[in-house]
């Protein structure tokens, strides 16, 4: 047996057999688990949106979502309206949160396509919050998040997440010390949209100045930080015309 493992025929047969076995195994696994994984992702989305508007079970410095069992009920309790904005129209759609932002961004490259922008309107302690999903590029892979604004377009909370940023560096965008800095930041200078930049050496590490359009960047995560700034500038900007109409 051992001596003919070098022959070309055996090599090809072995390779084909291996591909067949591994392929079948993975395909079977993927299809049988798909439903559960999609459901987990849907729950996560609801948790993220609620997190951005300040509905979570955070400890002193930990990030804790509302638990899986109650997230559905909490979501329908706090999110009063979901809109889909296309151009200047805003239509109500109770499943707007299921819109795939990534797919919309790809489709929007076609100039004839009217990009659908989902916007979630929630109410917490009598304050109406507008939650905007954003998505962009980090160092290794996608980054995304949700930004909650009040009707004066001041940030009331954010949630960021990433697919594969460097553990311990870029992955810290989903830590409290980074996300909490965004609270209270302005995004408009008078009437012009400025966004929020993750800036190095901004001489404001305590983040006392809320109108400088800057938060303190993470050391060792320059590209991820730039990705955050770019994602906010690019995606949040699309909502500004609509959000401005709320300001009056």
């Amino acid at each position: 047996m051992a001596k003919n493992t070098d022959s070309n025929l055996y090599t090809i047969l072995f390779a084909s057999g291996m591909v067949l076995i591994v392929g079948t195994l993975l395909a079977f696994l993927a299809t049988s688990l798909k439903e559960k994984i999609t459901e987990n992702k849907r729950i996560e989305k609801q948790q993220n949106i609620l997190y951005a508007m300040g509905i979570n079970e955070n400890g002193e410095s930990s990030v804790e979502f509302v638990s899986k069992n109650i997230v559905g009920a909490e979501f329908s309790k706090y999110i009063t309206k979901q809109l889909v904005i296309t151009g200047t129209d805003a239509v109500e759609d109770p499943n707007a949160y299921l819109i795939d932002i990534k797919k919309e961004a790809t489709d929007a490259k076609n100039p004839n396509y009217n990009r659908r922008l989902p916007l979630f309107i929630g109410e917490k302690d009598g304050v109406t919050l507008y939650i905007v999903p954003v998505r962009g590029k980090g160092l290794w892979d996608a980054i995304w998040g949700y930004i909650a604004l009040d009707n004066q377009l001041i940030v009331q909370g954010v949630y960021f997440d990433h697919a594969a940023e460097t553990p311990g560096l870029g992955s810290n965008i989903k830590e409290r010390f980074f996300m909490d800095d965004f609270k209270g930041e302005h995004i408009l200078d008078g009437d012009t949209f400025k966004g929020i930049t993750a800036a190095k050496g901004n001489a404001d590490p305590k983040n006392m100045n809320k109108t400088d359009f800057q938060v303190d960047a993470i050391a060792g995560a320059t590209i991820t930080g730039d990705g955050i700034s770019a994602m906010i500038k690019k995606d949040l900007r699309m909502y500004v015309p609509y959000l401005k109409t709320l300001k009056q």
């Binding site: 493992t5 390779a15 195994l25 688990l33 553990p167």
Partner: protein, 215 residues
């Protein structure tokens, strides 16, 4: 260890010190640089590699006699990748929060040279039980160095351990920061991981001069 013969026990204890994969065999340096800025990431990576290497070694060892030698590297790669994907998918379905923590490590595990190195150097020539022990030993040796480096980098770079501020608050100037101490941000960057590993190698070889290579 009454369970293991002396020879088998050596498979576990050797890689922990005198034949450590990082400091002696110089394998797995890339991931040791990439993810040791935080202690938590080091621990997660260490545990993941123990699982993958132990199981992978057994699988490779079981099929070692039927792998065509011309494509053995590809076969090894497929085995690692399949194992990691299976674990990742199962976690995504049944332990979603855990999978979020681990997902960034998936790519780093597949490309970890310790895994390929042990498949190639050990599992292809030894039985499943010995390969299993070798896998545990080597990944534990790798994990120990990772945790040591992670400990010093997080402590000196951010002044925290597992996210807890052990040295006081650098912005509010409490704890040691009140006496003028500052975090060394350079510790968070990859070059300092290399220097930290260099120091570990130096300390280890000066304590045991038999490990020094002579050219």
């Amino acid at each position: 260890m009454g369970l293991l013969s002396k020879k088998d026990a050596k498979l576990i204890t050797d890689p922990l010190a005198d034949n450590n994969p990082i400091t002696i065999q110089v394998l797995g340096i890339c991931s040791a640089l990439a993810i040791t800025a935080e202690l938590k990431a080091s621990i997660v990576m260490a545990i993941s590699v123990v699982f993958v290497l132990a199981i992978g070694n057994v699988v490779i060892s079981l099929i070692r006699n039927i792998i065509p030698s011309k494509i053995r590297i590809i076969v090894q790669l497929i085995v690692v990748a399949t194992l990691v994907i299976i674990v990742d998918q199962v976690l995504k379905a049944f332990a979603y929060e855990l999978s979020k923590t681990l997902s960034v490590f998936v790519g780093l595990i597949i490309t970890n040279c310790i895994i390929m190195g042990r498949f190639e150097a050990f599992a292809l020539a030894n039985g499943p039980w010995r390969s299993f022990l070798d896998g545990i030993g080597n990944s534990a040796g790798y994990g120990i160095i990772l945790i040591i480096v992670g400990f010093f980098r997080e402590l000196l770079g951010s002044g925290t351990l597992l996210g807890i501020k052990v040295l006081g608050d650098p912005i509010e100037k409490t704890g040691v920061y009140a006496y003028g101490y500052e975090n060394n941000g350079f510790m968070l960057l990859a070059p300092m991981a290399l220097i930290t590993i260099g120091i570990i190698i130096w300390v280890q070889r000066s304590r045991n001069t038999a490990l020094i290579e002579h050219n």
